[in-house]
């Protein structure tokens, strides 16, 4: 059973400090390592090696110091000298890394030699100190080695002076940070050299935990580490949480810890209060995290409010009506939010070697800040083209950090979705227009077909008749309208089929003639005599309609007294004979020879095409006595295709002259 060490503020500060340091450096190492893994960088890649080195040194130092401290506090055997030597060597390398990071990526700066010399000197000092520690450990001398610590203090103090001299072009703020960091380190090394274990708590804090500000200083040197902002936010949140916890502990919990009765039993109230306080403290962490994020964004990185920028962009994109406007808005948002000097829109870029493509996944592969290579922000739309925005370097010259890239991604996503929706909308509009056009064309085609078959005269006269009937006899108007519909639909439907039945054709011309009867009234008499047995006989479509139309036009319309139209059909010896006769004005031989009208001619041509010489078309006409047209077509017994073999014959239908 080891003796209990009395609690002193210095002790608590050390314990917490080393714990915090361990957590922070482990976090740093993890982040850097993950970044390197994600980007598939080789192990010894230059990029990110300084943060990694810092993290590794910090972890070794803090773990070693923590272990040493715990063993000492517990009164156990001190740690092996070798471990102590490694711990202090790791600590000794941290200031060298700081010096190195000052100039990393700035090799073009004048006084390159001096810089190289300074870096070499820094590593030299650290290495010498490490050797001295190891030698001490090997010889059984006290570790850390006193001369090594003196060497570090003296050496780095001198180096600060030299560096101040060779870096006059650096801004005061930056110089301040590393000067303070190095100075603190130099002084703390001195502290370890005279460490006796009972100094005031603040001396312990500065002396032992100087590596924390060092780490921050290294990270601040140009943010070589893409997750630097994230790390800073976490670190600051963690440190302030530690401070609050410490304050709560010393102000409230430490007194509570004394609430023990004589037998050493804990007071339950004390335990409850203790736990409640602990929970309350824990609840402050999210708030701290937000504050630290705000602090890092605004005070350290001087970023504008990214969420507000995104909100504004979303608002503007809602009113952007073209892809160009969307990309322009996105470019403007990127430019103003990140302080980027130039944002150029590229319509549909092919990724090339000089430009990094920022899309999700490889987002962190952003270019180094001082390089002139542009970053390419690709708007990952669902379909090509994917517009892109070429980004120049930031005005502050710093690299893009985690949150910057996240902002870029959010902007790219927002703009890409808007473009997608615009494209879909345009496509829909296009499709609608196309459909309307198709509809229009279809209607036109139908009308053309209709016009080819039906005399427009018929249509307009029918409409006029219906107009009259609406005024005087609405019921008959409806009847006639329906008949007109029948005729139109019948003609349209037939415009695609070659054959229909005699029954359907008779129905069509019956409707047609009924409409004409409503028009000519008593001047037109109609007699249709077709046996129902013949209704199923197949006939070419619209074969009779032109004949009936002619009969009305020449037989009725041209005579004041009107006349009669007769349609009859009979079947005799496999031949279907259909007669359409009128009692109209008739025509003479020479007119018949010239072929009266387009309608009659096309009927003859169609008969010839379907049946060859087996069909006949006979015209009988006499002036003043009317005209009779007779059609004869063969009917196949089986009824399967009346033109099965007729079509092949090139012979004309016989046109018999009037008798």
């Amino acid at each position: 059973m080891s003796p209990v060490v009395p609690a002193s503020p210095g002790l608590i500060v050390d314990l917490l400090g080393f714990l915090t340091g361990t957590v922070l450096y482990v976090m740093l190492v993890t982040m850097v390592w993950r970044e390197r893994m994600r980007e598939g960088m080789p192990f010894l890649s230059r990029r990110g090696r300084l943060p990694l080195l810092t993290g590794v040194c910090g972890v070794v130092w803090n773990l070693g110091a923590l272990a040493s401290f715990v063993t000492r506090a517990a009164g156990a055997e001190p740690l092996a000298p070798a471990i102590l030597a490694a711990t202090f060597s790791a600590l000794g390398f941290l200031p060298a890394v700081v010096v190195h990071s000052l100039f990393e990526g700035r090799e073009t700066v004048a006084g390159r030699r001096i810089i190289g010399l300074a870096i070499a000197t820094a590593y030299g000092l650290s290495a010498t100190a490490a050797v001295l520690h190891i030698v001490s450990a090997a010889r059984g001398l006290p570790v850390p080695s006193g001369p090594a610590l003196w060497l570090l203090t003296g050496g780095f103090t001198a180096l600060i002076a030299v560096l101040l001299f060779v870096t006059p072009q650096q801004p005061v703020g930056r110089r301040g940070i590393w000067v303070v960091a190095l100075s603190v380190f130099a002084v703390s090394a001195l502290h370890f050299g005279r460490h006796v274990g009972n100094e005031a708590w603040w001396v312990e804090l500065i002396g032992h935990h100087a590596s924390l500000p060092l780490a921050l200083a290294i990270l601040h040197q140009g943010y070589r580490f893409a997750l630097a902002d994230l790390f800073l936010k976490n670190a600051i949140a963690l440190l302030s949480f530690m401070g609050i916890s410490l304050a709560v502990f010393s102000g409230a919990m430490a007194p509570l810890l004394r609430w023990q009765d004589a037998s050493g039993q804990w007071d339950p109230r004390a335990i409850s209060l203790f736990v409640a306080l602990w929970m309350a403290t824990a609840l402050t962490f999210p708030v701290l995290r937000r504050w630290s994020a705000w602090f890092v964004d605004r005070a350290v990185l001087r970023r504008p409010d990214y969420d507000a920028a995104l909100g504004l962009l979303a608002e503007r994109l809602e009113t952007a009506e073209s892809e160009g406007a969307v990309v322009d808005d996105a470019a403007a948002a990127v430019q103003s939010a990140l302080g980027i000097t130039e944002a150029r829109v590229i319509a549909d870029p092919l990724p090339d070697g000089n430009r990094q493509v920022v899309v999700s996944g490889s987002a962190l592969r952003a270019s180094v800040p001082d390089s002139t290579t542009a970053l390419l922000l690709r708007l990952q739309t669902v379909e090509a083209p994917h517009p892109a925005i070429a980004l120049g370097p930031t005005a502050a010259g710093r690299r893009l950090l985690f949150d910057d890239v996240r902002l870029l991604e959010a902007i790219a996503r927002l703009a890409a979705r808007r473009i997608d929706s615009l494209r879909v909308a345009h496509e829909r509009l296009d499709r609608n227009l196309r459909e309307q056009e198709m509809q229009r064309l279809a209607t036109e085609a139908e009308l053309r077909a209709l016009r080819a078959q039906l005399n427009p005269h018929f249509l307009f006269n029918a409409l006029t008749t219906i107009g009259y009937l609406i005024q005087h006899s609405p019921a008959r108007a409806l009847e006639t309208l329906l008949r007109l519909t029948n005729v139109l639909r019948g003609v349209l439907r037939r415009s695609t089929a070659e054959f229909s039945t005699l029954g359907d054709e008779i129905d069509l011309i019956a409707s047609y003639l009924e409409i004409e009867q409503a028009r000519f009234e008593e001047r037109l008499q109609v007699a249709i005599t077709v046996s129902p047995d013949l209704r199923a006989v197949p006939v070419p479509t619209l074969l009779l309609q032109p004949l009936v139309e002619n009969a009305v036009r020449h037989g009725i319309a041209g005579r004041r007294s009107g006349g009669a139209i007769r349609v009859a059909a009979d079947l005799d010896d496999g031949m279907l004979r259909v007669v359409v006769g009128d009692t109209g004005i008739g025509f003479n031989a020479s007119a018949a020879r010239q072929g009266t009208g387009v309608g009659l001619r096309s009927v003859g041509e169609r008969l010839r095409a379907h049946y060859g010489a087996r069909a006949a078309l006979r015209i009988q006409s006499a002036v003043g006595a009317g005209t009779t047209i007779e059609i004869e077509i063969p009917v196949s017994e089986s009824g399967d295709g009346p033109a099965a073999d007729g079509r092949a014959r090139p012979r004309g239908a016989s046109m018999v002259q009037p008798r």
Partner: protein, 258 residues
């Protein structure tokens, strides 16, 4: 002042449809309705309306025929009515002649009546309309695919006589008029261009004798050669006509070669 109108259409429904539209208008009154062209001429001369609505397609004497046969001093302002006649529409539009398409709409009818009223109020417009109307009738005859004429309507005092083409033995032009002579020794005068009339006659039946003469081939009974390779023909009604030099050659080819 109410406009006095006459409507002529052989189809009763179409006529009554237009009449019903017009009756609903307060500023026009229908003084008569005609069921055919001859009736239209008679009624127009009887009632002397301000405006006549003439259907283009009527049996025997159509709307254009009415205009042609009306005596000049009786010619009212005319609005043609047609279901669908692209040639007529073309002729009318070329000559700013009013027309209505069937089914007639109230708006169009009102517009036509407004123009009629305007022309009635200004004599110059009215004269121009009459000139245009006659010109449009001529244009129509030229551009429309002419149907064969079987009977030619002619005026005889106040009547319209339909002269069968087969009875016509000769047609002689004199200025803007044509003198027809029938086999029954009747003489008629019509206002028509010989060229247009010739186009509507059967070329197998009528033959040109000169610039201003047509004769029925069946009516030629004797051909007398004249000095200089020309002919003179005698028709069955005793009419003697000279044949021009060019036509003499054609005549020889058609009649005198066995």
């Amino acid at each position: 002042m109410k406009l006095r109108a006459i409507i002529a259409d052989d189809e009763r429904p179409a006529r009554l449809f237009l009449a019903a539209l017009m009756r609903a208008m307060p500023d026009v009154t229908i003084v008569a309705q005609a069921a055919n062209g001859a009736e239209a001429i008679q009624l127009i001369e009887q009632h002397r309306p301000d405006v006549a609505f003439l259907d283009l397609q009527m049996p025997e004497i159509d709307g254009l025929g009415v205009v042609r046969l009306l005596r000049r001093r009786f010619l009212p302002l005319v609005v043609f009515v047609t279901a669908y006649d692209e040639y007529a529409v073309k002729a009318f539009e070329l000559n700013a002649v009013d027309y209505l398409t069937k089914p007639v709409t109230e708006v169009r009818l009102r517009e036509a009546l407004r123009r009629v009223r305007e022309r009635l109020e200004r004599q110059d417009l009215r004269d121009a309309a009459t000139t245009h109307l006659r010109k449009a009738v001529d244009v129509y005859d030229r551009i429309a695919p002419a149907g064969r004429l079987e009977r030619i309507p002619v005026r005889r005092k106040d009547d319209i006589v339909l002269v069968p083409v087969s009875q016509i033995v000769s047609i002689v032009a004199e200025g803007e008029l044509l003198h027809l002579t029938t086999s029954r020794q009747e003489h008629h005068t019509i206002s028509y261009r010989l060229k247009d009339l010739e186009a509507r006659l059967d070329p197998a039946r009528f033959i040109r004798l000169g610039r201003g003469t047509l004769a029925n081939l069946d009516a030629i009974v004797r051909v007398t050669p004249l000095p200089g390779g020309m002919y003179s023909v005698k028709l069955q009604n005793g009419q003697q006509l000279d044949v021009s030099r060019i036509q003499s050659r054609l005549l020889r080819g058609r009649l005198l070669e066995l």
